[in-house]
Symmetry: C2
Subunit: 245 residues, 2 copies
Amino acid sequence: MKQNIYDNPEFFHQYKALLQRPSNYNRLLEQPTMKSLLPSLTNLEMLDIGCGMGDFAQYCIQHHAKHVTALDVSSNMLSIAQSENAHPQIDYQLQAIEDYEASANRFDCITSSLSLHYVKNFEAVIRQIAQMLRPDGVFIFSVEHPIATARRTKEGNWIYDEQGKRLHYAMDNYQEEGIRQQTWLVDGVVKYHRTIATIINTLIDHGLSIDKMVEPQPSEEAIQRLPSIEKELRRPSFLFVKAKK
Amino acid sequence: MKQNIYDNPEFFHQYKALLQRPSNYNRLLEQPTMKSLLPSLTNLEMLDIGCGMGDFAQYCIQHHAKHVTALDVSSNMLSIAQSENAHPQIDYQLQAIEDYEASANRFDCITSSLSLHYVKNFEAVIRQIAQMLRPDGVFIFSVEHPIATARRTKEGNWIYDEQGKRLHYAMDNYQEEGIRQQTWLVDGVVKYHRTIATIINTLIDHGLSIDKMVEPQPSEEAIQRLPSIEKELRRPSFLFVKAKK
């Protein structure tokens, strides 16, 4: 999370353009899955880690959450959040989760969409989250799927034939956890690969119990709107975990 | 489990030869991981699903289990078990788990090594296991890793360059659960691919809580004894789950 690629002007310009497309992975796959995993939000005290432009925080308030603390490391993101999704019950903070302090048992629900693969010390962050969550509280997050982050390469992982047809997805280096430098919109985006076992066991070791795992599949409608998303059936891009304290 | 490839004479001949090698995946990777996940077995009532030649059942008795019910669908396997690993506290039964009946809460510990990917109806078997397990009982199993079973192909999934160097592992068809016909020792071995999310959620939906996941890595010693096992660092062959009722 401390990596702040979102304040790189070129990255941000391209990312904003991507997010504003009516058909993108966030709108068609990630956000519908995240919303499907939420409990009733009525009167919940929430923390959203990596809140971006604040659409999700706004959604939570519209669905009767009591209050959302919404963290992001990017001032670019937060200035859009403040102008487009400001609300008296949303507290936007320019803050990395690693540096954020809150009293124990403060939140009923903690969420994070596609941000924890930027975190270097996953265990420390999960320890923090487990402390901030009240007993029976819910933690729901998505990360890039370990199948997708495993291979140490800057090239894409889809392998094509000479006619440009996708043959299969290349997997490698699965057990080598750590930095993956990728080209995504710009060069040198740093993400961290962890195995599925590490992700799950870290939660359990910090007193969280696994409630559900989701490897989302695109709906028929999503495939009609963005045909290339059909490849999600061949290998998952995202992994969701819902856990309880 | 009802598929009984182990009573195919050609398969069995080759399988036996494989298992008798001092360095194979069972000895170097699967069994050490399974044993590392076991609780203290003292005085436990155990069920081993897909017991094969009975070495594991014998190990459990040596480690003070009270009794092991050991099921297998292969009479070839069980005749070796009876001659090499017979014990008054082990009850070998020629039985598929799907057809096995036991009273509720009967077992303290249920294990299964690399057999549940032969089961067609995973949910029904997990329901059965959850019923047969006593409260606080432990269920530990390994299956072929969904990363390894995903791709619908009879060829191998390692992709080589012209010099025969392994380039990467091919992943595909991940979300298409169901039959995978593979060539393993003989043609037409039928296994079932399921996603990681399906495996985990099926356990949770039947009242089991996830205690640990393991994607085993070979030890230095294992790599010295069988250098080709190093490729397990590039993609996992096995997935272990330890769950509690």
